[in-house]
């Protein structure tokens, strides 16, 4: 158990010794800030105008005009996540340090979990750094606090899922660029898989569409936490961590 902590420590140190963590955070936060600013700008524009008919009051709701798009925009930025995970396993193979890990008395599952959790911690820290935006709104308006909380929860789950995809991609190759590209591919795949029924037909299509991360995320942005979505995310993450574990273990069978 403690070995997982040792791995987490090493990976975090490695993130912060190189520019990668800082650049990731910086890019992520700058883009987030730009989006947020944009949301506020368009909100203000509409805010001060008289409403031609009452239903349009929706446009003047803080929740819907700023926060929800905000959560959606951050989830788009998750396309950057494979950059975080690309080195985790690919580099071990490239540097031949995998020999060290696999000939030490540490279980493969501990290796996988340790690396995953280190990336998850980095994701969490980055997300926390985006909080000042919504907090600002709390001062100036009356947004739904619950919505903010569930929104971030949903974001965290989506991020964790994409990290699992990225780690899996990293386990498949020793080339970090390929790991990143595979990661991007997988992230986009599960992003658009909601459109499967149009492509593959109704039966299979609906099954595939259920795997859409988007679908399970929307509910969080509306202020609801549904058990079925949490189960989905946990299963998704577990599945891809399991796959990663198998890929590493497969060294032992060949």
């Amino acid at each position: 158990m403690t070995k997982i902590i040792y791995i987490i420590q090493r990976e975090l140190k490695s993130y912060f010794v190189s520019p990668s963590a800082y650049i990731f955070c910086m890019v992520f936060l700058i883009l987030t800030a730009i989006f947020f600013r944009g949301n506020i700008a368009s909100f203000i524009e509409v805010r001060n105008q008289p409403l031609p008919w009452p239903e349009l009051s929706v446009l003047q709701s803080l929740n819907k005009m700023i926060l929800q798009p905000f959560f959606g925009q951050i989830s788009l930025l998750y396309l950057l996540l494979p950059i975080l995970t690309m080195r985790l396993l690919a580099e071990e193979k490239k540097l031949h340090t995998m020999e060290l890990l696999l000939t030490s008395p540490i279980a493969v599952s501990h290796i996988v979990l340790g690396k995953y959790l280190a990336a998850a911690i980095l994701l969490g820290v980055t997300l926390i750094m985006t909080i000042p935006g919504p907090i600002l709104i709390l001062f100036y308006g009356n947004p739904d606090l619950g919505l903010i909380i569930t929104g971030y929860l949903g974001l965290f789950f989506v991020g964790l899922s994409f990290l699992a995809l990225g780690l899996f991609a990293s386990s498949l190759t020793e080339n970090q660029i390929i790991a990143a590209m595979l990661g991007f591919g997988l992230v986009v795949l599960f992003w658009i898989i909601g459109g499967a029924p149009h492509v593959v037909g109704f039966g299979l299509g609906m099954v595939l569409a259920y795997l859409s991360i988007l679908e399970h995320f929307y509910v969080f942005t509306k202020g609801f936490v549904e058990l079925k979505d949490i189960v989905f995310f946990i299963s998704f993450i577990s599945f891809f961590l399991f796959l990663t574990h198998q890929v590493l273990e497969s060294n032992r069978w060949r």
């Binding site: 070995k3 140190k13 490695s14 020999e99 000939t103 008395p105 540490i106 279980a107």
Partner: protein
């Protein structure tokens, strides 16, 4: 300590190891030598639990490397061909991490770190980033990570590859120093160092062990002739040369050094004693000025090449 029985490794159609067997007793150093691609690294990787065998068994201290890998990994230290170093860590940080992975108890940590740093001569660079170390130092860090948890068995794959001569000697001394407390198995294709460090030698070619014994024994196996070097105080005269040639039992004679102060004499096994005493008698009588008479073992290179030649001829 190490028992390998009928070890076979196949990559698809290619047989990397064919049914090899050998044992290493506790505290011994055994060297694996063989041409490139013979199967040395494969053997090391299987012994260190990095890779599974296709068939056969390997027991280290009684534990099977496939079924009880976890136990084996606690008692081995492995230095692969490329030392498994993280460039972004300092020497100290890296060794500390390795000791955590290898389950070194916290209270022993400081002592064992100091020990490893001292044995490998890394005290001065312990706070330097591994990325900034020269190849020789990187190799030393590689050795340090292999020994840090006081494993019973050390497995070194080409520990002196691409080191300069001075570093090679240092590493060799280091390995000799380690051998008492540890069982060491190392692979190389640099023969002279093998003869100097290892008690036992296993010659491997194309996946098969073609000779495994102490170096003098191997040499003796191959000898069908005894070889002796005779050195004189002045260049050899023709009459002396012819005289020795004519002694019964002498098979051939050739001048040794270019300045022909010496000769190499091949005699039939069993006749050597007699021939040499005769040479001494005549030499003293006739005042030949004999300076040195020494039996010559086959050099390890010759043993190596000879065995490999025979092996390939057999095919």
């Amino acid at each position: 300590m190490i028992e390998v029985e009928n070890l076979t490794k196949r990559y698809g159609k290619i047989w990397a190891l064919r049914n090899i067997s050998f044992t290493v007793a506790e505290g011994e150093i055994i060297g694996f030598i063989g041409p490139n691609g013979a199967g040395k690294t494969t053997t090391m990787k299987i012994l260190s639990c990095f890779m599974p065998a296709t068939s056969g068994s390997v027991l280290i201290s009684g534990y099977d490397v496939f079924h009880q890998a976890h136990e084996v990994k606690k008692i081995i230290g492995f230095l692969p061909e490329q030392p498994p170093l993280y460039d972004d860590m300092t020497v100290y940080g890296y060794l500390k991490y390795v000791s955590q992975l290898k389950e070194v108890p916290r209270f022993k940590l400081k002592n064992l770190m100091d020990r490893a740093l001292k044995i490998c001569g890394l005290e001065k660079v312990q706070n330097r980033l591994i990325k900034n170390l020269s190849k020789g130092y990187r190799q030393r860090v590689g050795i340090a990570q292999a020994i840090i948890h006081e494993p019973r068995v050390l497995i070194f794959d080409e520990p002196t590859a691409s080191l300069d001569p001075r570093q090679t000697i240092e590493i060799r001394e280091l390995i000799k120093k380690l051998s008492g407390e540890h069982t060491v198995i190392l692979s190389t294709h640099i023969l002279p160092e093998m003869a100097q460090t290892c008690q036992k030698v296993a010659i491997i070619n194309e996946g098969e062990i073609i000779g495994a014994d102490t170096y003098p024994n191997l040499s003796r196996q191959l000898r069908h002739l005894d070889r002796t070097r005779i050195k004189f105080s002045h260049p050899v005269d023709q009459p002396v040369y012819h005289c020795i040639e004519k002694i019964p039992g002498v098979v051939s004679l050739e001048t040794d050094s270019p300045d022909s102060y010496g000769v190499l004499m091949n005699t039939e096994l069993g006749e050597t004693e007699g021939v040499v005493s005769k040479i001494i008698k005549i030499g003293v009588q006739e005042n030949w000025g004999i300076r040195e008479i020494s039996p010559q073992e086959y050099t390890l290179e010759e043993v190596f090449v000879e065995l490999i030649q025979r092996h390939e001829n057999k095919k």
